[in-house]
C-alpha cells in the first residue's frame, strides 16, 4: 500500500548546525502518529519542512504519491497537507468566522470544481466553527478569545482547507487538564472522520492516549518508531528523556 506521507532522508541545516540529519518516515492514511522529542530535537523543523514553511536541504517529501518538496506552503495546503502552529497565529484584524473563510477561499475554492458562493462560504464557516465548538464566538475578534478557543481556531482554520493530513503542532500547550481532554476528543473525532493526524506534543498523557504509533526525534535523528507502549520503554528513548 502506498503511504499517504512519505518522507525520505530529509535534511535541514542552519549554518553549521544540523537540525535534521536525514529523517525517514512513512505514514499510512488514517493513522494517528505522535511525534515527540526533547526541546531542540527538530520536531518543529520537520513540521516546517513538511509544510513548506522552511526549505529542506536534502531528501524528498511525497503526499499521496505527489512530490511536495520545492512547492511553496500554500500549494502543499491546497494538496491536502494542513498544519496548526505551535503558538496560535490568528489573523488579528479579522473575526473568527473570517479567519476560517480565508482557507476556504484559497484552498477549497481554488481546487477544480470548488466554488463556494457567499452563502455557501458562510454556511461552511459556521459548520467548521460548530465542529470545533466556536460557533458562538464566530463574530468575535481573535484577541477576545481564551487560550483554548485560540487553539480551536487554529484547528478550525487548518480543517477549512479539507486536509487529508493534519499536523497539529503542540495543539494542547498551555491548556488545563480538562481542556487537553477536549482537544484530544476533537482530534480523535477528526481522525474518525478520515483525517490522518500527526500530533507533536510534550504532554505525554495526551500523546499516549492519542497515538497509535509513536515517533521519537532526538538531535535531528529518528531514534524510535513503533507502538507507543514499546517506544516509551525503549532504552534509547529513556536515555534521551531522563539521561544516563
Amino acid at each position: 500500500m502506498t503511504a499517504l506521507l512519505s518522507v525520505k532522508n530529509v535534511e535541514k541545516r542552519f549554518g553549521g548546525f544540523t537540525a535534521l540529519g536525514g529523517i525517514d518516515l512513512e505514514i499510512q492514511a488514517g493513522e494517528r502518529v505522535g511525534l515527540i522529542g526533547p526541546n531542540g530535537s527538530g520536531k518543529s523543523t520537520l513540521v516546517n519542512c513538511l509544510s513548506g514553511t522552511l526549505r529542506q536541504d536534502g531528501g524528498s517529501v511525497h503526499l499521496a504519491g505527489r512530490r511536495l518538496d520545492g512547492l511553496p506552503a500554500h500549494a502543499r495546503t491546497r494538496l491536502g497537507l494542513a498544519r496548526s502552529f505551535q503558538l496560535p497565529r490568528p489573523f488579528a484584524s479579522l473575526t473568527v468566522a473570517e479567519n476560517v473563510r480565508i482557507p476556504l477561499l484559497y484552498t477549497v475554492n481554488a481546487r477544480p470544481g470548488g466554488m463556494l458562493d457567499g452563502p455557501g462560504l458562510t454556511a461552511r464557516c459556521l459548520e467548521l466553527l460548530d465542529l470545533v465548538g466556536l460557533v458562538r464566538v464566530a463574530g468575535k475578534m481573535p484577541t477576545d478569545l481564551t487560550q483554548i478557543e485560540m487553539r480551536k481556531l487554529e484547528l478550525a482554520r487548518a480543517l477549512a482547507s479539507e486536509p487529508t493530513l493534519l499536523i497539529a503542532d503542540e495543539a494542547m500547550a498551555g491548556l488545563s487538564h480538562g481542556e487537553i481532554d477536549e482537544i484530544l476528543a476533537l482530534l480523535l473525532r477528526l481522525n474518525r472522520q478520515g483525517i490522518t493526524i500527526i500530533l507533536i506534543e510534550h504532554i505525554m498523557r495526551a500523546v499516549m492516549q492519542f497515538s497509535d504509533r509513536l515517533v521519537v526525534l532526538v538531535a535531528g535523528r529518528k531514534i524510535a518508531d513503533g507502538l507507543p507502549g514499546e517506544v516509551v520503554r525503549n532504552p534509547e528513548v529513556e536515555r534521551a528523556y531522563l539521561g544516563e
Binding site: 509544510s51 513548506g52 514553511t53 511553496p72 506552503a73 500554500h74 500549494a75 495546503t77 491546497r78 494542513a82 498544519r83 502552529f85 497565529r89 490568528p90 489573523f91 488579528a92 484584524s93 479579522l94 473570517e98 473563510r101 480565508i102 482557507p103 477561499l105 484559497y106 484552498t107 475554492n109 481554488a110 482554520r157 487548518a158 477549512a160 482547507s161
Partner: protein, 311 residues
C-alpha cells in the same frame, strides 16, 4: 454587481463635487482641488500596499514621477490626450511596481521600506541624467487654455480627469477590500506564514499589490506636467508626496478604503488653505504635527477613533 450601487453613489458624489466647484466660480478652486484629488488617488494607491497588505512604501514619489515623466516623454514624441497618457503612466509605474516587488518582496518590515526609498533615489538619478525629459534642468509643457473635447478651461479639465481617476481608484480599492483578494491581503498583513499555511499565495498577491499600487500612483502623476507646466526632478520627486501618501491613510485609517479618502481630503485641504493663507513651506510641518497628534491620540486613524479603538 453588488458594487454597482457604490459606483453610482461615487459618481453622484463626484458630480456634486464638480458642481460645487463650478458654483464657487473661482478657477483657483479647481487648481487647489486638483491637488487634493491627486492626494486621494495617491493615498488610496499607497493604502493598497501599505494598508491592506502591510508593506510600507516610502517610494511614492518615484512612482508618481515615473507617470509624470512618461507623459513628458510621450508629449515630446507624439502628443496624446491625457487619458491615454494616464494609461501609459499607469502601465510604466505598474511594471516598475512589479519589478520592485520581485526584487524586494522577500524583504519585510523596515528592510522593504528602505528598499523602496532606494528605488526612489535610483529613479531620480536616472531622470536627472536623462536629458530627453529635461534632466536636471526640468521640462516645460505649454498647456492650451481650453480643451478641444469639452471646450472648457484646461484646469477644469485636469480637475475633472483627476476626479474621474479618484473615483476609479477609490472604487477599485473598495472592490479589492470586499473581495477574495482583499481577504488574502488582510491575511498577509496579519501573519504571512499563517496566510501561506491557509493556502494564500502570498508572493503572487504581494506582486499584484505592488503592481496595482504603483500603477495608480503613476496614473496620478501622468497629468502632473500639464498641471505644473514645468516639471523638474526636485518637484517631481518631492518628499511631500511620499510623506503625504503615508500620512493621509494613517490619519484617516488604513484598514478601509474610506480612511485614505478622509485623510487626503482633510490634510490636503488644510495644506491648500495654509498655502494661500500662510505659506506652502508650512505644508510638511502641518503634516508632521497632525501625524504626531494622531499617533498619540488616535493611532488607528479617524476611523479607529470613530469605532472607539485604541491600538
Amino acid at each position: 454587481m453588488r458594487n454597482l450601487p457604490f459606483l453610482v453613489l461615487a459618481l453622484l458624489a463626484a458630480a456634486a463635487v464638480f458642481g460645487a466647484a463650478k458654483f464657487v466660480g473661482n478657477s483657483y478652486v479647481f487648481f487647489a482641488g486638483y491637488v487634493v484629488l491627486q492626494y486621494v488617488v495617491l493615498a488610496t494607491a499607497w493604502n493598497i500596499l501599505g494598508g491592506y497588505v502591510g508593506y510600507v512604501n516610502f517610494g511614492t514619489a518615484a512612482f508618481l514621477a515615473l507617470g509624470a515623466y512618461s507623459s513628458v516623454a510621450i508629449h515630446k514624441l507624439f502628443p496624446m490626450p491625457i487619458p491615454a497618457l494616464i494609461l501609459i503612466g499607469g502601465l510604466v509605474s505598474g511594471v516598475i511596481g512589479l519589478l520592485m516587488g520581485y526584487l524586494t518582496l522577500r524583504l519585510r518590515g523596515a528592510f522593504f521600506s528602505i528598499a523602496t526609498l532606494a528605488l526612489a533615489v535610483v529613479v531620480q538619478t536616472f531622470i536627472i541624467n536623462w536629458s530627453f525629459v529635461g534632466g536636471s534642468r526640468g521640462a516645460y509643457i505649454v498647456r492650451p487654455r481650453t480643451t478641444a473635447f469639452f471646450g472648457i478651461d484646461y484646469i477644469e479639465y485636469l480637475f475633472l480627469i483627476m476626479l474621474a481617476l479618484a473615483v476609479i481608484a477609490v472604487f477599485s480599492a473598495r472592490c479589492i477590500e470586499h473581495s477574495r483578494l482583499g481577504y488574502g491581503f488582510a491575511a498577509i498583513r496579519d501573519d504571512e506564514a499563517a496566510a501561506e499555511a491557509s493556502g494564500v499565495p502570498t508572493l503572487r498577491l504581494k506582486l499584484l499589490a505592488t503592481t496595482l499600487s504603483g500603477a495608480f500612483m503613476g496614473m496620478a502623476g501622468a497629468p502632473l506636467p500639464y498641471y505644473v507646466t514645468y516639471l523638474d526632478p526636485a518637484s517631481g520627486f518631492s518628499l511631500t508626496y511620499a510623506v503625504n501618501a503615508i500620512a493621509m491613510p494613517l490619519i484617516g485609517g488604513t484598514g478601509s478604503w474610506i480612511g485614505p479618502v478622509i485623510g487626503a481630503v482633510l490634510l490636503g485641504t488644510l495644506q491648500q488653505i495654509a498655502t494661500v493663507t500662510i505659506s506652502s513651506a508650512l505644508n510638511l510641518l502641518i503634516v508632521g504635527l497632525v501625524l504626531v497628534g494622531f499617533v498619540i491620540a488616535a493611532p488607528n486613524g479617524l476611523l479607529g477613533l470613530l469605532r472607539g479603538e485604541r491600538r
